[in-house]
Symmetry: C2
Subunit: 430 residues, 2 copies
């Protein structure tokens, strides 16, 4: 605990301390498990979830009823809902994790030194990983499964909307772990008011890593208020830039897919930039296509003229529009003079998540990939591909937009640290 | 800037903002330099330092005089002193960095996805790296050199004791960069009072990474007070554990070397633990050897008896002794019942830096390396080997004791991040 705990209730600090120490003790056992032991546990956890479907669905129904009584929207209810098929899917995700390679024990690099010392850098679990997240109860199970597979104990702080569901899920997981002879404290739920969240964020030394997942406010609060190391799963203010030498059919498909395939998530594109040289040929088509998909358009002067021509509804784009991640069917559209202007715009407004260029010009593609500072840079591909599943990781705990430790989609290796093992025969420094 | 700037003078915040933005602009140019360009610059910087030896030594003399007037110890003066041979050595270190591989552009991993997308994870510079450090002026040049080689702009905040020296060094470096056609803002000195340090620590978004180097208080202040990502170069409360099946000659050499080779640094051993089974045979010898080197000994009951037998001065070790990094010729010595007890002691008191076991027993060695949670774990080797130079990195910016991003000795790759480059032919999500 540090001095930054000012204003936090000592009872909350103590509650977190007890939980984190228990998780730490559990993590030391998990660190030594073989992949076979962990995979067997994952399958047992999956079986236990399926066997407890009724209890889980009942608890979930209580959360849904409470939500409805408080005016929860249909869309949020849908995010919250766990029906039997979804419970089965969540269980299947655990089995899928069992099928992934174990990152623990990987030898990252090594060598034999001039004096004969053999050094190797090996992957080890982080230790105790905290997740602070909103809404979706499947995150509870995903986090537990990815944590277990990477040898970590997890402390879960879910959103209050899913409180009963999360309690039921964690109860099932803990009982199943115990039945497997594993420490139930490998998975813990952090209950309590807002004070315990601050206590968790400042439990440096007891908690090794914090991953927040949710809206901008949640993430920023954790990132700026934590003394525990954090991985920022940040804003996705993603751009698609259609260059002078773009194939316009390709550009149309990529622009529409990047915005509309799943508009609420972080890798959806929020802005479309079009090189002046192809604006006349391209904009009317793409604006019509976006509008037909229900996308609300904010256009600058150049794109506005094209919108008029295409007869699609639009309003005037402001700097604030260009700076906004809409999380929905809404997009800012602008015309740029050249690649330099596109790069400058992205540098100014981009959030370091995913940026895409559509071009057949090699030099333009090379400049874009070299100069854009983001977690992922696409050439002639939808921004929607920044995804652990799409990248072949087999899982994803979130997409990091920070530069330290992990950047882009995060899966099992990102939940590990390393240590150096040095084997000698009595060498000393001369 | 974040809300955590409360209490910081807006003038300091502005000063840092201007400096960090200029560094950011410079970093974008540095990110695109080839290794050849960077190496040529490093050699030019080295030449410039040597050419400016008189000015540097003169500035250093002013710092030394001011220090002496304030009662600075001989040992601290020695750390501060830059005479012509030391200036030459500092310049040579830059040439050595030129000889190292360039981490920027390394392809860490990559693959071709089922849909034909080619993804690759490439190393990129962090961007703007801040160093907050005390005393030794060669850190100024090392940081600038390692920063440049890894494509980063650096903001340097040295200790006030070396203020004139650091100003002279940075002035030479900036002029040399400019003469090479490179942005002088690649290397900046952050002058001003304590307020600018807090402003630097909270300049999240403008500064990408902070590395503190110095005493415990400095490091803890930065680690707990920063919103900018930090790498903790922490405490080295390192242990040497002599196991039941240790070769006692080897153990003697390792224990003495680990403590006395360079007692003030983080990888020096602070505690010696000896298995009960070899305590009688080993302790008198090792205590006599340590005492002969001037090591002040704090012994527990078991080790105290051996100290009496050996006739060496000692006093009673407290828990606080075992928890202390002495930074000098001082050591805690204890007898443990078995490997479990040694592991428990290290878990309780260790700072996660370097822990060593001396043993010929394979099972004990394997348990120790598997169960000790530290940046480096040694078997039959001195703790003094946790060092970038010794590990063959060719350089070292510090030794991280944290788990995120880097752990153990840090060199060029640790000053980089990565990004994903995705090359397609129009792929979209279905």
């Amino acid at each position: 605990m540090t001095e930054r705990t000012d204003g936090i209730d000592p009872a909350d600090v103590e509650r977190v301390r007890v939980l984190a120490e228990a998780a730490g003790t559990a993590s030391r056992r998990l660190a030594l498990l073989s992949r076979a032991e962990k995979d067997a546990a994952l399958h047992a956890l999956a079986d236990a979830l399926v066997a407890a479907t009724d209890d889980i669905v009942t608890a979930n129904a209580r959360d849904l009823e409470r939500g409805r009584a408080q005016g929860m929207t249909e869309s949020l209810q849908d995010r919250l809902r766990l029906d039997p098929p979804r419970v089965a899917a969540v269980a299947q995700a655990l089995r899928d994790i069992a099928g992934l390679p174990d990152p623990v024990g990987e030898v990252v690099r090594g060598s034999t030194l001039a004096n004969g010392l053999q050094i190797r850098q090996v992957r080890v679990p982080m230790g105790v990983v905290g997740m602070i997240y909103e809404a979706r109860p499947n995150v509870t199970v995903d986090a537990a499964g990815l944590g277990l597979k990477s040898g970590n104990a997890v402390i879960l702080r879910g959103g209050s909307a899913a409180a009963d569901t999360n309690r039921a899920l964690v109860s099932v997981l803990r009982a199943a772990l115990e039945a497997q002879g594993l420490p139930p404290d490998a998975v813990s739920l952090l209950d309590g008011g807002h004070g315990v969240v601050r206590a968790l964020m400042t439990a440096r030394g007891l908690v090794d890593l914090l991953i927040p997942r949710g809206g901008t406010e949640l993430i920023q609060a954790v990132v700026t208020g934590s003394t525990v190391p954090v991985i920022e799963t940040g804003i996705g203010n993603c751009h698609v830039y259609v260059d002078a030498r773009a194939d316009l059919e390709t550009a149309l498909a990529i622009a529409v897919n990047s915005k509309t395939h799943r508009p609420s998530v972080c890798n959806a594109a929020e802005s479309l930039l079009v090189h002046r040289a192809v604006a006349d040929a391209f904009l009317p088509k793409v604006l019509a296509a976006l509008s037909a998909e229900g996308v609300v358009l904010h256009t600058d002067a150049g794109a506005g003229a094209a919108a008029e021509l295409a007869g699609v509804p639009h309003d005037t784009a402001t700097a604030e529009h260009f700076a906004t991640e809409f999380h929905g069917l809404e997009m800012s559209v602008g015309v740029v003079d050249d690649l330099d202007a596109a790069l400058e715009h992205i540098r100014r407004y981009g959030s370091g998540h995913t940026e895409a260029i559509v071009t057949d010009d090699r030099a333009a593609a090379r400049r874009f990939t070299a100069e854009v500072d983001a977690a992922a840079v696409m050439v002639n591909a939808s921004t929607r591909f920044t995804d652990g599943g799409e990248f072949g990781f087999g899982a994803e705990i979130g997409i990091s937009t920070q530069k330290l430790h992990a950047r882009g989609p995060m899966a099992l290796p990102e939940l590990t640290s390393t240590k150096w093992v040095v084997e000698g025969d009595g060498q000393v420094r001369v």
